[in-house]
Amino acid sequence: MLLGPALFVSAALFTLGVFGVLLRRNAIVIFMCVELMLNAVNLTFVALAQRLGVAGQLFVFFVMAVAAAEAAVGLAIILAIYRHRGTVNLQNINLLKG
């Protein structure tokens, strides 16, 4: 019954997350947008779990675990970068260039 609206909200949130990732340069904000996308997906899982079984909710559980780990490592990386460069603005970080 709530499936359709929930999926719609999830899609909108996900798009906003992508939009944010593309729009911003601040690494931390981009990180938050990624979290937003993860949550949008979580919403989908939960919505579908109603009709497809409890496994959907379990996946949310795992996604949270991954998100926590990712946040910890990712933020640590940002910290390290900030120490090196003095900024978290991605425009000034091009360490990946070969």
Binding site: R24, Q57, F61, A76, I77
Partner: protein, 173 residues
Amino acid sequence: MSWTLIIFWAFAGLALVSALCCITRRNAVASALWLVVTLFSLAALFVLLDAQFIAVLQVLVYAGAIMVLFLFVIMLLNLGRQGPTDVKGPLGLGIAALLGGVLLFQLWILRHAAPPEAIQLPPGSMARLQQEQGLVGAIARPLFDTYLIPFEITSLLLLAALVGAVVLAKRKL
């Protein structure tokens, strides 16, 4: 229109608006706080979708732990003050809008790709399950049964993340 639906849309609207604010606020602290609002709203939506236990976790882990971590880092780096905007210029906006639009369009089309009726459970079966086994039990049973190994691996993942974060964040080992 039932009350459930009204509440749903109220929280959904709140989630979307706060998400929009989160990605547009120039101040990282403001963004983070708006994100907290979004996460709370989502927790409410989870309750409406028969996932009470997940909703609790959402508040505890996300709003409680992860967002605090974010705020800590922001403050540690002293990013809270007003600086020059990090929002990209018109070109970046255009690209973001274009790609976002395309994505939304694709998801719009994908809404028809719902799972076939044949494999769906009858309506209300989740609520019935929770009635029979309890809110936590309904999730805990498969977690420690079918998904035991992934669950244990998750612990390893978290341990690795812990070690990794310490290694990365520490100035000198």
